[in-house]
Amino acid sequence: MKKIFIKEEYCIACRLCEIYCQVEHSKSKKILKAFKNEKDILSRVLVEEVGYNSFAIQCRHCEDAPCVEACISGAMQKNKNTGIVTCDENKCVGCWMCIMACPYGVVKRDLSEKKIASKCDLCSDEEYPVCVRNCPNEALQFKDI
């Protein structure tokens, strides 16, 4: 499968990945409409920054995914064919076991409507994840593993 690789040496902490992720996961998918009309859209990618060091991190779609193992509702599943780990929002009850289990800290609480876990879905409808496509310095790369 293809995964997102993090090249922290190229990350300039511009946070464009976060912006594009939020837009992609908004209802309108339009940056201004999303900003004006939609509240609390979570970015599923997160820029970590300490001093001059920074990198963007999102779900690693682990082989033995701890979030899938911890999920009590069967919402968090790893697709056998694509390898993508996704959270079925209908099944998710917001118990936060995945947040407890994820060693990368990349699952968030989405409280905007019904409580659900929010995480990177690799923008599976798109050819490239939007964070990768819009990274101006190629600090995120989408490659076969």
């Binding site: 701890p66 193992e69 911890a70 999920c71 009590i72 509702s73 069967g74 209908n90 099944k91 009850v93 917001g94 118990c95 936060w96 076991m97 995945c98 947040i99 407890m100 289990a101 994820c102 060693p103 990368y104 800290g105 699952v107 968030k108 609480r109």
Partner: protein
């Protein structure tokens, strides 16, 4: 022994894999077996009448957040796709390890090549005196009158695991049937207030559900605080205050002395301190223990399986008896943090142990490197996560460092327990973001000294 076997209806078929238990550990084992062995026959036995469902979700069901259609964690196709034979409502009575045979209480036998015990835990029912209370309600209404229970009609009957279901209004809360029965009882009896015996995880999960549907709760807890197994007094105080602000009463350092019944119906309880609470609904949530009844029945005429609080397994999840494996809430296995054997009855470990058992049963090779306690619980919109050893008992030599950040006004608490530079425990209340990172630091035994130096 031979007599017993004669009575048993013999089945010629031998299951390649027989799994007792249709929940997290059992079904995780099924998936793991099928990654290696696509054709071997798998028979799953369950004492439940329902197909698979997620036990932790019964809270959400009772709270009305999900329906019965969403309580299943594996869909219908799972059994078909994995070619599993599921037999429901089979109460396994005993196991004949020598002849590799499982025997139900109705005398049906099932033969196996490899066996997995994934039958989970059963609720603890403490012994409490049952008292017939004719005058109780009437007197209770007028609080000035000294409440008198007619001593002469006190029965010698004690509440225990065999009889608690005979009294209408007393329930446990560990399986789907419990949740459905409580739900029905609440509606039929227009319950507005309940008593929960036990302020641990199950007690709070029941409280969470009842508060959600507008039922006032009274929690009776033996220790000095709620969630005493994992929380310290700071963490507990946040939850306790929030519950008290939501019309709940919390009775710590207390327990139920008498159960007051009238015509086999619960009418109230009397506490250790003689205080009485008028209630028609009592949920017993003292705890859960590994369900070892099958083994105890099997012992007389069999090879002995080794167990303590739970069934002992090696790192392959195999018991001391060859081809017999165990996984999930029924086992006592390696605690990664303390280095001791422990029964850590949590969903993620049940899934992992089941997977490891399944792989090894199917001829693969995977080792269980141990687990540690962790749980996530949200009460009245306050999320909390605790991981590992959160309350180290003794710290005489000062080797344990504790970092605390307590902001009760913001309903926030964070506690990190560090031993020799490595995190061994965590409590987060109010903000649980990125909790798993701490878990990763624990699991990988990362030295964090430099991170916490001021």
């Amino acid at each position: 022994m031979e007599d017993t076997i004669k009575k048993i209806k013999k089945t010629d078929e031998i299951a390649d894999y027989l799994i007792i238990g249709n929940s997290a550990a059992g079904l995780s084992a099924v998936s793991a077996i099928r990654t290696i062995d696509k054709t071997g026959s798998i028979l799953v036995l369950t004492n439940e009448q329902y197909k698979n469902y997620s036990k932790p979700l019964i809270t959400y069901l009772l709270a009305g957040k999900i329906g019965l259609d969403n309580i299943y964690f594996k869909d219908d196709k799972f059994y078909e796709e994995n070619n599993i034979l599921l037999k429901s409502e089979i109460n396994v009575k005993k196991i004949n390890f020598k002849d590799k045979m499982v025997i139900s209480d109705k005398g049906i036998s099932f033969k196996y090549n490899k066996l997995l015990l994934a039958n989970g835990g059963s609720p603890i029912i403490p012994k409490i005196r049952i008292v017939e209370a004719d005058d109780f309600i009437e007197n209770f209404k007028n609080k000035n009158i000294n409440i008198k229970v007619k001593e002469e009609i006190i029965t010698q009957e004690m509440l225990d695991s065999t009889n608690y279901k005979n009294i209408s209004g007393i329930f446990t809360f560990t399986c789907l049937q419990d949740a459905l029965q409580i739900q029905k009882y609440i509606i039929e009896n227009k319950i507005k207030e309940a008593v929960i015996l036990g302020g641990g995880l199950i007690g709070l999960k029941s409280a969470e559900a009842l508060l959600e549907i507008g039922i006032k709760v009274n929690i009776i807890e033996l220790s000095d605080r709620l969630l005493s197994a994992t929380f310290d007094k700071y963490a507990s105080s946040i939850i306790e205050n929030e519950m008290k602000n939501n019309q709940s009463n919390i009775y710590t350092n207390n327990t139920i002395n008498k159960i007051l019944v009238k015509n086999n119906k619960l009418v109230g309880i009397e506490l250790k301190n003689k205080e009485k609470i008028n209630t028609k609904l009592l949920i017993i949530a003292v705890g859960v223990v590994p369900d070892l009844r099958i083994l105890k029945e099997s012992e007389m005429e069999n090879e002995q399986i080794k167990y303590g609080r739970g069934i002992f397994t090696d790192e392959y999840m195999q018991t001391n008896i060859k081809d017999v494996y165990a996984a999930g809430d029924v086992v006592e296995s390696f605690d990664f943090i303390t280095g001791n054997k422990a029964n850590i009855a949590i969903w993620p470990l049940a899934v992992r142990q089941g997977e490891i058992a399944g792989i090894n049963m199917a001829g693969g090779n995977k080792i269980y490197s141990g687990g540690y306690f962790m749980n996530s619980i949200e009460i009245l919109d306050i999320p909390s996560i605790s991981i590992g050893l959160t309350n180290p008992a003794d710290n005489n030599d000062g080797s344990i460092e504790i970092i605390k950040d307590f902001k009760p006004e913001r309903k926030f608490y964070k506690k990190i327990v560090i031993l020799e530079g490595k995190i061994i425990g965590l409590i987060l209340v109010g903000n649980i973001d990125r909790a798993g990172i701490y878990g990763g630091l624990i699991k990988n035994e990362i030295d964090v000294k430099s991170m916490f130096q001021a």
